[in-house]
């Protein structure tokens, strides 16, 4: 499954809710304010393990809009909109943690 998270983990608990319930094969795509969780910060540990497994993506345009391109945590994979579509196709059912 593909899980998209579009809220900052500092402001909402949607990333945590997502992490609490996803299975071992799911991947997470951080979009909109969700990309704040892709930066190195006090919340980075939330997704560090998943990122090491190559299961955390972030939408490039949203990262660049927030000026955090140079501050990404380790092993975050950047994708563009075409990459977003590829993830949807590859992983089937998508859940939007709005």
């Amino acid at each position: 499954m593909l899980h998209t998270v579009n809220k900052s983990s500092f402001e909402r608990n949607s990333l945590q809710s997502c992490l609490n319930t996803i299975d071992d094969t799911s991947v997470i795509l951080l979009i909109e304010d969700g990309v704040i969780s892709a930066a190195k910060n006090n919340n980075s540990s939330m997704i560090a393990d998943l990122a090491t497994q190559g299961r955390v993506y972030a939408l490039k345009g949203d990262v660049e809009a927030r000026g955090i391109s140079s501050k990404l945590a380790d092993n975050i994979k950047l994708v563009d909109y075409a990459g977003f579509v590829d993830l949807v196709v590859e992983h089937g059912t998508a859940v939007s943690w709005v």
């Binding site: 402001e11 704040i36 345009g61 949203d62 563009d80």
Partner: protein, 134 residues
């Protein structure tokens, strides 16, 4: 017209919601009415003034440049929460170098941004006539 002390609390980042842009609009209106305006950037609001924002990839207006104009409206008290910066792995060097020209000091360019602790911010807030949170 009487002057009041207005403080605008900016708590959200720029593009996920419309709060940041709306706050900026209201700030400029208050400045047009020659009020004493301060801005505070707390929580994810600190991302509003991060240097190097590029919105080409999301098709939204990059209004971060507007913060550079605040100095010309005599808005030169921009307080940034040190705790909020640190939680987000950011430092003062990651912020836009926002300045104003000090008319009492031969128009010398001075920094508008001041990093403050939440305790200092709390004191500054208590000195305001009006605090508006966005």
């Amino acid at each position: 017209m009487s002057t009041k002390k207005f403080m605008y609390l900016n708590r959200r980042s720029s593009f996920g919601t419309v709060y940041a842009l709306e706050s900026l609009e209201v700030v400029l209106i208050a400045a047009a009415f020659e009020q004493d305006v301060s801005l505070a950037f707390i929580d994810d609001g600190v991302y509003q003034i991060v240097e190097g924002q590029n919105t080409d990839g999301i098709g939204m207006k990059n209004f971060s440049k507007t913060y550079h104009a605040l100095g010309d409206y005599e808005i030169n008290k921009l307080y940034v929460s040190a705790e909020s910066l640190e939680e987000r792995g950011l430092t003062e060097e990651d912020l836009m170098p926002l300045v104003y020209e000090d008319e009492d000091d031969d128009w010398e360019e001075k920094p508008s941004v001041k990093i403050v602790s939440n305790a200092e911010l709390s004191k500054i807030m208590s000195e305001q006539d009006v605090c508006l949170s966005f």
